[in-house]
Amino acid sequence: MLTDFEKERYGWQMDVPGVGEAGQEKLKHARVLISRAGGVGGLVAFQLAAAGVGTLRIAHAGNLKPSDLNRQLLMTHGHLGRPRAECIKQTLSDLNPLIEIDVIAENMSAENAPRLVGDVDVVIDCAPLFPERFAMNDEAMRQGKPLIECPMYDSDAYLTFFQPGRTGCLRCLHPETPPEWKRRFPVFGAVSGTVACMAAYEAIKYITGIGTNLRNTLLHGDLATMRFRRLPIERRADCPYCPPVNERRSNA
């Protein structure tokens, strides 16, 4: 049941056709995992907290550095040198104290992925390193959890919605780690925030049942040229990480 305050707080989004009280209840009971709350993940978390997703689990290690602040909008100048996890928790709690915010001061790895993915409904991948992305992908596929993939670089933004049994996975899209990938990448917060907001809406659509998710489709946006394309992507027949196409999994 939504409280009277919740009905007022979320009233404008409950007016979106197909949402209503039932859709808001779904958001209230949803659990979402976000890998890192940087330039992309921070804005994903901000939007989902504002929308009233009941439980946000966020994995992000380390202490806040000055170079984070051009894009990591959950972070504040006053937290420099302190754990990012503290700042993430405080900012999101200030925005919406009605939701559970479970911030874990760890980055995603093959070791912790089973625990972190275990009880969530949707996983959103916002890590800046391929080993973290692959660890999250592999566990999401193993547990049958939808995975929203939303990387960016400079003015490029990619977005797709992987759903075990219905689509391929990150390993189908990019089987190998590119050796030239560097931890530091060119980024304005306006670009990382753009793909983040679209990724957050993919999660909202999935949870509430409105709209259509980007299954088997890669959206590429180049914000320098403002050219956007929807491109077909597919499951690789020999992918060892994807469950069989017709196998029914939880949330499938």
Binding site: P128, D154, D156, F185, L231, P232
Partner: protein, 90 residues
């Protein structure tokens, strides 16, 4: 001539960055070889051991050729070839 669309992730590696280039060729392989002849700095991103890098995604006229047939895929006047390398900025 076919046109190759270059995303920011590739433009950033070019000595003379361009959003798109027109190149001669009857197949994807022809056009990518023409591209790397003009821009050899892209060769290591696009190819490994003379084969397409397995994580590079190539789309021709908004369709996705099978990886093992990609280089032989025919292109025509006005075809648009989109190259998307893996990125992980988050």
């Amino acid at each position: 001539m076919p046109k190759i669309i270059l995303p920011a992730a590739l433009r950033g590696r070019m000595n003379n960055p361009q959003d798109e280039v027109e190149v001669a060729g009857a197949t994807v392989g022809d056009t990518l070889r023409a591209l790397t002849n003009d821009h050899p700095e892209l060769n290591d991103i696009l190819f490994t051991n003379d084969q397409l890098h397995p994580s590079l995604r190539v789309f021709v006229d908004d369709q996705s050729p099978l990886p093992d047939q990609c280089l032989a895929t025919a292109v025509k006047e006005g075809s648009e070839i989109v190259l998307l390398p893996p990125i992980a900025g988050g």
